[in-house]
């Protein structure tokens, strides 16, 4: 991965009494696909608007390519934005929408025409140049919005939940195409979404946010496999979360049983949260299992079954391809490397 392109240093931002970003620090590498992920109202859009120049931070520095850009107007930044509702210009046709930025730069006409047509090809809207914006479907408008931004060859493209309004099938298609575009164009993408699946699929790096704070930064694999705390584990994928105690290195106690694990470096008898992903449980005969329970419900999910097992009055969620009847007695086993121990959140 390339050098640092954007850095947010100690950024704080409030609207009235509401603290939206609280001493925010992270950086974005060149050519990276970075996703800000969090529930709505967590400050991710504000963060994007700060980078785009539509808001100014109360405190801290935004550094772009080595220079502080806090006071730079949006039109002076080598950054373009894809807005949530596209914000296409209704009074212009597709061509003039895409050519808008180039015309402002006063490029020669032939170059404008060339670049617009190239970009139309790239977003697969060849032949749409004379269409009026209101005659386009949601997906097509989305493509025009992307074309209008990337035709200016920005160093960074900011995308604010760009696929939120599209149906599932189209959304998956666009996820793939956006990722492809980012690779071929070599533009840094900063992507905002609340959809964890979208974030896992597309990103090089994910920044998990909640209530104006960063909870974890990492690759999709890191974040899925090694969530730092209860919130991240809950937000990314489904999880069984248990309260436990770290007895010693490589040994954790939860649900009144002791399990071997691969985690170390905790205090003796430190209170911890333990995460086990639903797909990491395996069925074994009850006689050989530490955890025994009764199948409570079973849902067919396509690739797998989702089975809820009652153990000592608590429900465990399990994803498996094995079939069990409701009411069956089952034993559950879990491999030491699938037990993930996290420091308890101070709350």
């Amino acid at each position: 991965m390339g050098k640092k392109l954007i850095e947010l240093k100690n950024i704080s931002k409030s609207f009235g009494d509401l603290v939206v970003l609280d001493h925010f620090n992270f950086y974005i590498n060149e050519n990276e696909f970075i996703t800000l992920l969090g529930p709505s109202g967590c400050g991710k859009t504000t963060c994007l608007r700060l980078i785009g120049g539509f808001e100014t931070p109360d405190d801290g520095e935004i550094i772009f390519d080595g220079k502080v850009i806090n006071d730079l107007e949006p039109n002076q930044r080598e950054i373009n934005t894809c807005f949530q509702k596209y914000a296409l210009f209704p009074h212009l046709n597709v061509f003039d929408n895409i050519a808008f930025g180039l015309k402002l730069k006063k490029l020669p006409k032939t170059e404008i025409v060339d670049r617009v047509h190239q970009t139309l090809k790239l977003v697969k809207l060849d032949g749409f140049q004379d269409r009026h914006i209101s005659t386009l479907s949601g997906g097509q408008q989305q493509r025009v919005a992307i074309a209008r931004a990337i035709v200016n060859r920005p160093k960074v493209l900011l995308l604010d939940e760009p696929l939120g309004a599209l149906d599932l099938k189209l959304r998956q298609e666009m996820q793939y195409e956006l990722k492809e575009m980012q690779r071929t164009l070599g533009i840094t993408f900063v992507y905002v979404t609340h959809d964890q699946e979208e974030a896992l699929t597309m990103s090089d790096t994910i920044v998990i946010m909640n209530e104006g704070k960063i909870l974890q930064i990492g690759t999709p694999e890191d974040i899925y496999n090694e969530p730092k705390n209860r919130f991240v584990a809950n937000f990314i994928g489904e999880s069984n979360i248990f309260e436990g105690i770290m007895i010693e290195d490589y040994l954790v106690k939860f649900v009144d049983r002791e399990f071997k694990c691969v985690d170390k470096g905790f205090h003796l008898n430190e209170a911890v949260d333990v995460v086990i992903r639903p797909e990491d449980f395996d069925f074994v005969p009850p006689s050989k299992a530490k955890i025994k329970g009764i199948v409570d419900s079973l849902t067919f999910k396509g690739v797998h079954y989702e089975i809820n097992v009652m153990v000592d009055g608590r429900e465990y969620t399990i994803h498996t391809t094995k079939y069990r009847e409701v009411g069956d007695r089952v034993g559950l086993s879990v491999e030491p490397e699938s037990i993930h121990v996290m420091r308890r959140q101070r709350s």
Binding site: P74, N75, T81, F83, K105, T135
Partner: protein, 279 residues
């Protein structure tokens, strides 16, 4: 069964009668003026034959020239000024945060519901305190003053319908703030600006009360001139040239209304057609 049919028939007949009556009440006076403007009689309401001489007099004689020129020049100037100012104000008000925006709109609506006579007298007092000589400039200021709220009222709904990020998209693609307003906002509220301007124009053309209080003794528009003529010489002095003027104004209004409505309809139709493509 039969009685029910009868009742429905009765209701329908009532509907037709009411509609016809309403339109009669609305249009008979206008038709009457039209007739009188073509009547070859200088006094009274008897039909004495067809003529166009009142129209000729309207354009050739000096009798009403000054008031007409005054009315039209005030209307054109006040429309231009109030449309420009109103557009700027509307964009500014729309950009405010919600609480302030609502407050500003209340302030904006007060002059709209304020009776003309209050507006007229208060303006007159202000002008005399400031020792302005009543005349062309005070009438122009007054007309700009009462037109601006209407322009704002016509533009605000258009602004509300815009994508909230439209202005920022302009900035993002390289516009300065002013360029973004000019290239992105203005083209998308143009219909609101146009209807606002038309409203300002018609309000100015047919204003009597405010003009009466702010124009002084010398300067007159058509309505204050007619009023003065009536007051001076009594009802019989009413020259048929005035009927001709009224008829022309009426026809102009009709043309404008038809023009605006057909434009709107065309827009709606293309929009409907276009939405058919959208899945």
């Amino acid at each position: 069964m039969k009685r029910r049919k009868q009742r429905i028939l009765m209701a329908k007949a009532m509907g037709v009668i009411l509609t016809v009556m309403t339109f009669l009440i609305l249009y008979v006076p206008i038709l009457l003026i039209l007739m009188l403007s073509l009547n070859d009689s200088a006094r009274g309401y008897q039909w004495e034959g067809f003529t166009l001489k009142w129209y000729a007099m309207l354009f050739l004689d000096d009798i009403m020239k000054d008031p007409i020129v005054n009315t039209i020049s005030i209307a054109i100037l006040s429309t231009i000024i109030s449309t420009i100012l109103g557009t700027i104000f509307a964009i500014g008000i729309h950009a405010l945060e919600k609480k302030r925006r609502v407050r500003m709109m209340v302030m904006n609506n007060v002059p709209v519901v304020n009776p003309d006579i209050v507006t007229g007298i208060s303006l007159m007092i202000i002008f005399s305190i400031l020792s302005f000589t009543l005349g062309f400039s005070t009438v122009l200021i007054a007309h700009v003053f009462f037109s601006i709220p209407y322009v704002i009222l016509n533009i605000i709904p258009k602004l509300k319908r815009l994508d909230p990020n439209l202005y920022e998209a302009g900035l993002d693609l390289g516009c300065s703030r002013i360029e973004a307003v000019w290239r992105v906002i203005i083209p998308n509220i143009s219909t609101g600006i146009l209807t606002g301007a038309l409203m300002a124009f018609t309000m100015s053309i047919d204003d009597f009360v405010i003009t009466y209080f702010t124009s002084g003794n010398e300067y007159m528009n058509v309505s204050t001139w007619l009023y003065a003529a009536l007051a001076r010489e009594g009802r019989n002095s009413f020259t048929p040239v005035a009927y001709a003027y009224n008829t022309i104004i009426f026809l102009l209004t009709i043309i404008i209304i038809v023009f605006v409505n057909t434009r709107k309809e065309r827009k709606v139709r293309t929009h409907e057609k276009s939405t058919c493509f959208t899945p």
